[in-house]
Amino acid sequence: MSRPPITGTLTDTLAAARRQRGRRRAGQLAALAAVVLALVALTLMVGQSVTPPGDVARVLLGRDVPGAGFTIGTLRAPRALMSLLTGLSFGLAGAAFQTMLRNPLASPDIIGISFGASGAAVAGIVFFGLSGSAVAPVAIAGGLGVALGIYALAWRGGGVAGARLILIGIGMAAMMQSVISYSLLKASTWSQNEAIRWMAGSVNGATLAEAVPLALALAVCGGVLLLRARDLEALRLGDDTAAALGIRVGWLRITVLLAAVGLVAFATAAAGPIAFVAFLSGPIVSRLIGPGRSLLLPAALGGAVLVLGADWIGQFALPMRFPVGIVTGALGAPWLVYLIARSNRVGAAS
């Protein structure tokens, strides 16, 4: 009321600027979400045949539509849902890792977590004849085990440093790769094909039953990550600054690690290690929306865009059908070169 006018102006200006930033961010998130919805609609409507939106809606509401019931209900809807969920999970987990380790290259598919899940899954497929839903728990156990191993080995002198965590992760990745190679070598021909296809990452033949555990994991782990998003942003300033701001750095790191690994492991179990989604979505959306607020939610949406788009391209836009992981891998390679060169130039990876 009786505030001096100069302070009033300053707070007003700050508040206005903050409101404006908030509106801009809300607009960006809405735009990303709209793209995701558009791609879901594309996946549902356009395939070998084009289904009108009215029929799609009727099938989704549970009505019986002759001709479209099987295509939409059994083929396209589970596929779209699985793409959406894996994309969200990989994008979210990747951004969480990159923020936590302060390195745009340190995503779970680079530092061995995905390899841990894949190694366990491929060994399960080849040596124990697992298939379908039985692969998931093995992959999850593998991912979590490797992550905890990396964390324990990187522990020295009462803490874990990001750079050491990354390099030890790379060493573990090499070990898991040799497990994968060995399993593939010992595999019979049919399980070899199954394993190679799984390794490439695919949402082909997804069922609603497979999507349920991933949806639950996304709700729990994703919720944890989004709740800690502010603290993670503070961690960007450095461990010491974050600690001075009142954040228990070690505790934060292990929480985020567990939640993000959970996401990666469940998503990998459901669809295989879809290459580069976790790695790319964070940096891409950060280029689109600019620096500032937490990247977690935009990166999750970006991951969904990547998987949905790449899956549709792999199915219908190329001369032969490729699993989604091959498309994201091929799209990702040039981006990767650009990113590494660029992030090195600004010193972010040093």
Binding site: I168, M172, A174, I326, G329, A333, A349
Partner: protein
């Protein structure tokens, strides 16, 4: 008195002369060669070993022994090549984590060979070797170039990340090529696990010139690598032509790694672990380090091959898998040992 105690560590190193260790490594190599011929999936008697060595193949045991001869030779050559190549790469890049596998050389060679198999009907040892060397060289140069952009040059962290990221990208391309070509998938998969099991004298003869050239280039660069270890400016001040020395040494290393990869498939971590082991024992002088890395690498690879035959009886583990399992812990140990600011 205090001076003497300060000098003590140097005396201790002098007390175990390099010559002694050299003899020890040679003796170890000889023993491992003997074991590699004598031990295998099939137990053989002394008489059969002698028969196999002298060329007889009447009994199954003698035939088995005669199969183990080229295998042992190839393991020795491959191990020597990889150990030497790793030592040279660590010297050229002044980076403790430089290794053919980490630099993406293996992945690059694998991609080149896969492309060759799928689209160009690659056949014959020489075609394999040239293709693999080309892929290896291109990838190594590419990874190093990416890693050295930006401040600080190619730090171990940047180099490792660039190498792994490129390996993942190359892996996606390999899968993309293999999925539509089910007929070659099995062969390519078998090649991607490094092994010396399928060795024959024909393959060894084909790869020998490349190994010899790479070996000569690498060993000749020992003095230059010593100068380079002091930093580029110091080396130039000492009269070294830095770029030329570096290029010659790197070419030698890529020739070695590419040729070994072409004939055995990717074998990881030998190039990383062996030079570190040798540096612990022999000190940092590259004129000693290079030949000893070659000898130790040969001993290590033969040992890993024998271990792979013994562990998984009646089947056998490929040597690439054994070295990855032995080598990854060494990698982790090196990382834990390094001071953080050096990463």
């Amino acid at each position: 008195m205090s001076e003497a105690s300060l000098a003590a560590p140097h005396h201790r190193r002098a007390a175990l002369p390099r010559g002694f260790w050299l003899l020890a490594v040679l003796a170890g190599l000889a023993v491992l060669c003997a074991l590699s011929v004598a031990i295998g999936t099939r137990s053989v008697s002394l008489a059969e070993i002698w028969g196999g060595l002298t060329g007889a193949t009447e009994t199954i045991g003698e035939a088995a022994v005669s199969k183990r001869l080229p295998r042992t030779l190839l393991a020795a050559l491959a191990g020597a090549g990889l150990g030497l190549s790793g030592a040279v790469l660590q010297g050229v890049t002044r980076n403790p984590l430089a290794d053919p596998g980490i630099l993406g050389v293996n992945a690059g060679a694998a991609l080149a060979v896969t492309l060759g198999l799928a689209f160009f009907g690659l056949a014959g040892f020489h075609a394999y070797i040239w293709t693999a060397i080309a892929g290896a060289g291109l990838t190594a140069g590419f990874v190093y170039a990416i890693a050295s952009v930006g401040p600080g040059g190619a730090t171990p962290l940047k180099l490792a990340l660039a190498g792994v990221a490129s390996t993942v990208a190359i892996g996606a391309f390999i899968s993309a090529v293999l999925l539509p070509h089910a007929d070659i998938a099995g062969g390519a998969q078998a090649w991607q696990v490094g092994g010396v099991g399928g060795a024959g004298f024909a393959g060894i003869r084909a790869v020998l010139p490349f190994l010899a050239a790479g070996c000569a280039l690498s060993l000749a660069s020992g003095g230059a690598l010593n100068a380079l270890a002091l930093g580029d400016e110091m080396a130039a001040g000492l009269g070294e032509r830095v770029m030329l020395a570096r290029a010659a040494a790197a070419l030698g290393a890529v020739l070695l790694a590419g040729a070994v990869t072409a004939i055995c498939g990717p074998i990881g971590f030998v190039g990383l672990a062996v030079p570190h082991l040798c540096r612990l024992i022999f000190g940092p002088d590259y004129r000693w380090l290079l030949p000893l890395s070659a000898l130790t690498g040969a001993a290590l690879l033969i040992g890993a091959d024998v271990a792979g035959r013994v562990i998984a009886r009646p089947s056998e583990l490929d040597v690439g898998i054994v070295t990855a399992f032995l080598g990854a812990p060494v990698f982790i140990w090196i990382v834990r040992r390094q001071k953080l600011k050096d990463l």
